[in-house]
Amino acid sequence: MFGFYLIIAFSIGILTFLNRNKMVRIVLLVLFLIVQTSITIYAYCHLNEDNTRFFKFDALGVIFLCVLTILSFTTVYHSYIYLRHRNDSSRSQSIYFTSLIILIMVMTCAYLASHLGVLWVFIELTTLSVAVLIYHERTPLALEATWKYVFICSVGITITFIGIILLSIALGETEAVNFSFKAISGQLSLINASWLKTIFLFMIVGFCTKMGLFPMHTAAIDAHTVAPPPISAFISTTLMNVGFIAIFRTYTMFSHTTILHWMNMVLFLCGIISVIVSAAYLLKVNHLKRMSAYSSIEHMGLAAIGIASGGIGYFAAIFHMVLHAFVKASVFYQIEQFHRNFRTYLINETGNYFNRNLPGAMVFLLILISITAMPPSGIFVTEFWIFKALFTSSHFFILVIVLLFLSIAIYSLAKNFLHILFNQTQGLLPAIEKPKASETLSQFFLLALVFYLGINPPAAMINLLNEAVANLPK
């Protein structure tokens, strides 16, 4: 079944590339979304059944696959709006949607990969397909951002490959030629600790490029600045989930060895420095998209801290990633509409959004509530669990530092969002077009999902989350 999905999705991608007709393109996109939905439903119904050698529908993969499928609907819709307003040529629209389809397909494969080498290959492919999308506007600035993104990601993925080779050298003595996560974790107890630590470090540093954690967090920031906003929504949500899933699987694989405590320390370090760095940059940032990008890094840091603190933290970290994906995606969809109103992303040149576009302003207000983890939002629940995990594992000092820098981040986010909403500066440029309320519907839907999942998470989702963390030490 999964093989069929790959073949169908790939051929839809090729047809989109060849096609120049507007109506046919829409039909192909709808067809692809139907295929994507059906593979998601199929994966959920066939949980934990081994289909192929390299892919497995396990709980962790299926959770993020559902998030990807929901967001691919909204992203395709907003990409369509974005391209319609830009009046791009039919050819560049074809290239855009082809890369988008390939990107969604490759991310699906990365989520479901049960083989370390296959996971690595698909992570590399996400870099290539997203590079085309970042470069969509063809400006010198877009070129600079794409170059930096491709280069840093290539170096990062090379570092991961070194980790994988070191692992294969170490496993060579134990005759484990099969490189699936399950087979590896059974063999790891035979390898000595210092060698394991080296392998873990190399692999984590490489995967951090995708997740946006501290040592390699710079990769995505510049890409966010110039990428089309619907693509920024993808880079900062589903693509970061790819990095998270890679780190989580690696962590699970190593979690039954003697280096568990040391791994936690490494993740604490990555997480805390990510939170500190993002808080520091949020204080001075003046570009709306960069601000959202730094806010993503802060949330990634929290997720890493969640994994490191163990216990309920594992559960909370996955849940946090899911909710963060919905919130951050709606931020970028709304930013696209915002940019058409003001023709700029710079915060200090904008203001008074409440009068200009009431539904959009409501979206920003709800986003502010969600992203700063105020009570009705689901992120409040997950952050509370992460802090609870920190508390029960008696990391009080880390808790204090994280809370301190988190409040700085909340202050900066609130300051900037409230400036956009209520600032009464005179002399703003007049709005070029009348904002459409219908374009905010998807954002309201995603935010409602965040509130709903926080207050009343469905039992099916809780079961999936529990199953995803079942292999980890209690």
Binding site: T146, V150, F151, S154, V155, F161, I165, S168, G172
Partner: protein, 209 residues
């Protein structure tokens, strides 16, 4: 024989430290390709034929011929100044690369528990770190790619020491790396050359806070 080749490889890394002209860098990359061809020929002769031919093809055709020719083409087409323009004086570069080699020598003697062959480990780690060093200290975008290619060579050597056991993994890694390094990096270098007058990283500083 392998030892001699790998020592020659490490010496070529030190030579890069004092190389001044971009064409010297390209020649060194070609020489490294030949060395890797020799090493993989000796090391992998007992693995199955298809893989063996693929790896040899990769080293001799891509690393030794295609990439140097391609880089030469890029430099000619974009009228790049032939100097490498390092941020550091040559002497310091040589000293630092020597320190890197020394450090990897100590590291390869310190690790225990896993029977990785020391000379492979030494050559691989020094190539990785020297590649990163070249990326950091040179001014041009082309030299960044050369640094990346040197890192790739390091990864290749490391994978050779595990090559008997994991031929499939090595092949996928190598194929994808070639794909990235030639196609994407090449395409973007050409674009950068067309967009900016001079291919220097000084042009790539507009994105910041």
């Amino acid at each position: 024989m392998t030892n001699i080749l790998l020592i020659a490889f490490v010496i070529s890394l030190i030579y890069i430290g004092i190389a001044n002209r971009l064409s010297t860098y390209i020649n060194i990359l070609a020489v490294q390709g030949i060395i890797l061809f020799g090493v993989s020929f000796i090391e992998l002769i007992q693995i199955n034929t298809v893989n063996f031919i693929f790896i040899l093809f990769e080293t001799i055709v891509f690393k030794t011929i295609a990439i140097p020719v391609f880089l030469n083409y890029v430099i000619k087409k974009n009228h790049i100044v032939r100097e490498a323009q390092p941020f550091l004086p040559d002497f310091l570069s040589v000293v630092i690369i020597t320190c890197i080699v020394l450090g990897s020598f100590i590291l390869s003697n310190v690790i225990t528990g896993v029977s990785v062959r020391k000379i492979f480990f030494l050559a691989a780690v020094s190539a990785l770190l020297s590649g990163l060093f070249i990326i950091i200290t040179r001014k041009k975008v082309v030299t960044h790619i050369m640094g990346y290619l040197i890192m790739e060579n390091g990864v290749f050597i490391l994978s050779l020491s595990a090559g008997n056991k994991m031929p499939m993994l090595v092949n996928t890694g190598i194929t994808l790396d070639i794909f990235v390094s030639v196609l994407v990096l090449g395409v973007f270098v050409n674009r950068i050359g067309n967009t900016f007058e001079e291919m220097s990283v000084d042009n790539l500083t507009n994105l910041k806070d």
